[in-house]
């Protein structure tokens, strides 16, 4: 049966056969870098198109349908346009930080790819503190946004960046707590272990009430963390024109744009891993025949399917809800999400100790 | 209140007022000096004219006339107060401390007719650019560049 696992093992065996181990590692690194960059490019194109199509259908429109069949190449055309455009740097901007910021945001996205399991045994780096790594690295993206807002020397940008700072720092908390729920249930921080623990059922089913609550909290928190509507205060179009990236144009704007979608993909991938078993097929208790049938679907399809379902959910939010105000945003976190997460953590601890989950 | 009663009432406040009843509402012409105290009395006195729904100026070539349309939300009676102004030096006291809406309306009249409102808190141009010369709504305004004569 075709599997990504087979390919990786074959490649590694071949490399080790031809070169010494250091060289092989270096070549592997290069391959991984190339793969992740191309994944970024493809994801960017697909997700932007998906967003536009989802938005269009929710808004009783057709969406892009002129470039290529069904508008498939619309984002390619857009990218081409953005590459051709002149990347302006405002006169009084802090040029070094201004140019650095999009790359910082982008790099955070790339770093986060490392511990994600795309398919069975297809993972860049199965670090044993995977979840901790994710939650610590993902909070770095705020630095890029603050950098962009400050260096633009634009008041709208500054306001947007400051909002974003307050927002991401506070929503880190409940996202972290939601993730901790699963860590408590699994008893491990390692991504592969978390997935393996869902062999006989996903955590969202096995962990019942606390897992569902944690999932809802997680989705809300990551929507806020990725600056998506209804929490898109950092760019709040109708208030701050475009927030922290007001002054960006051309490819540097495209990087911000891309980073937004990459971040969505990553948080959804993590959500899928934690709550829906990552690449793990849907297994129900002792139904051997059913479980066996499910195993025939490749693990990468399972992973992508779950991730894209969550991405759709986040897009659905965006095109339904109005935006919150900045103080209401913080109220929501500190008065609602955080107490509920704390309570939920307590609940899950009790359930785990008593073994009440399946 | 009938028009006669209003006339009586206003004569006590502004003895020099003249009246004109040909239009839809009672028109009261007062001098520029006695306008502000009269307005204050109309707003706070027994008439309770709390709604200034139109404030404008008319250029009659010989003089400017300030026109104030007043009404009350309680008894819905409308009157019109007018004051003639000298065309060269149009000065009148502001009413924007009585009705807040007058602040913007007087700024508009200021730039369009050149009427100077004393005691106005913020008498600047509202619509035209700051270095605009002339008063566009006066009859003798000529702008050969922007105005196209058909």
């Amino acid at each position: 049966m075709f599997s990504l696992e087979g390919i990786t093992t074959n490649v590694q065996d071949w490399l080790l056969m031809k070169f010494n181990p250091t060289m092989a590692l270096a070549i592997e690194c290069v391959i991984v870098i190339l793969l992740s960059i191309s994944l970024f490019a493809i994801l960017g194109l697909v997700l932007v198109l998906m967003e536009r199509k989802v938005a269009a259908h929710i808004q009783i429109r057709l969406g892009p349908n002129r470039v290529g069949p069904g508008g498939m190449f619309q984002t390619v055309a857009d990218t081409l346009k953005l590459i051709m455009k002149e990347g302006l740097t405002p006169d009084k901007a802090d040029k070094f930080l201004f140019n650095l910021a999009p790359f910082v945001v982008m790099m955070v996205g790339m770093l986060l790819l490392a511990p994600i399991a795309f398919a069975k045994n297809f993972q860049i780096w199965d670090i044993n503190i995977g979840v901790l790594y994710i939650s610590s690295v993902s909070s770095l993206s705020v630095i890029g946004i603050l950098m962009a807002g400050w260096a633009s020397n634009n008041k709208y940008s500054l306001l947007g960046a400051m909002r974003s700072g307050a927002q991401i720092v506070s929503y880190e908390l409940s996202a972290g707590f939601a993730v901790l729920t699963i860590v408590v249930l699994t008893g491990s921080l390692q991504i592969s272990e978390i997935i393996n623990a869902q062999q006989n059922g996903w955590w969202i089913f096995k962990g019942h009430i606390p897992a569902v609550i944690a999932f809802v909290l997680y989705i809300i928190a990551v929507t806020a963390e990725t600056n998506r509507a209804p929490f898109d205060l950092a760019e709040a179009e109708s208030e701050l024109t475009a927030g922290f990236h007001t002054e960006y144009s051309g490819m540097r704007f495209a990087l911000f744009f891309l980073a937004e979608y990459i971040n969505i993909f990553i948080v959804c991938a993590i959500g899928a891993t934690l709550f829906f078993g990552g690449w793990m097929p849907l297994h129900i208790g002792n139904w051997e025949a059913f479980n066996h049938l499910m195993d025939y679907i490749p693990s990468s399809v399972w992973f992508m399917g779950k991730t894209f379902f969550l991405i759709f959910l986040i897009m659905w939010f965006r095109w339904t809800f109005p935006r919150l105000r900045v103080d209401q945003l913080l109220n929501l976190e500190w008065k609602y999400l955080l107490p509920i997460s704390l309570f939920n953590l307590l609940l899950v601890a009790v359930i785990t100790i008593l073994g009440w989950h399946f | 209140m009938t028009n006669e009663e209003i006339k009586e009432y206003i004569t006590t406040l502004a003895p020099a007022a003249t009246y004109d009843e040909t239009g839809e509402w009672l028109n009261i012409l007062v001098t520029a000096e006695e306008l502000q105290p009269l307005m204050l009395a109309l707003r706070n006195g027994k008439m309770q004219m709390n709604y200034l729904f139109c404030l404008t100026c008319v250029d009659f070539k010989t003089h400017l006339t300030m026109v104030y349309h007043l009404s009350a939300t309680t008894h819905r009676q409308s009157i019109v107060i007018k004051a003639n102004l000298n065309r060269e030096q149009p000065v009148i006291e502001t009413v924007c401390d009585i009705w807040r809406t007058a602040e913007f309306l007087e700024r508009e009249v200021f730039e369009m007719f050149g009427v100077h409102f004393t005691n106005h808190p913020d008498l600047r141009k509202l619509i035209l650019e700051d270095d605009f010369k002339g008063y566009p709504l006066r009859k003798d305004f000529e702008d050969p560049i922007n105005m196209i004569k058909l």
């Binding site: 929710i58 009783i60 057709l62 659905w316 939010f317 339904t320 | -």
Partner: protein, 158 residues
Amino acid sequence: MFLKEYITDVVTGVTSLLKGMRKTGYYFTHPKEIITEQYPDNRATLLMSDRFKGEVVMPHDANNEHTCTGCTACELACPNGTIKVVTKFETSPEGKKKKAIDALVYRLELCTMCNLCIVACPSDAIKMAPNFEHSVFDRTKLTKVLNQPGSKIREGIE
């Protein structure tokens, strides 16, 4: 009680959000509700209202005749100086001099489609056409002469 209020708050809030999501979800799954008009692909089937005020035209019949007498009523009625009637004197076969139009100049770029000229016209010589695709590459092309070259006034119109 505080806790009860808190929980009611959360529940009503979440319910209201879910209701909105149900509505948008309904439209997402019902592509039949899409209202996009695919202009210009649907140009062949696009139905304009017959009264639509797109531009002023002067209808000519098969003999290249119109009914405009050159009375300048439309020119007077127009608020923007869009229409200019240029008249000339024609000599009829009997030797009688008669006023007729040389050109009815219509400047589309000044027109506000107010329809006052059509209402003013005593002989129904001009009307509004439902044509809305007016873009041209040169502004001078917007100045049109409405009477066709060689056209003349129909017999019996005074």
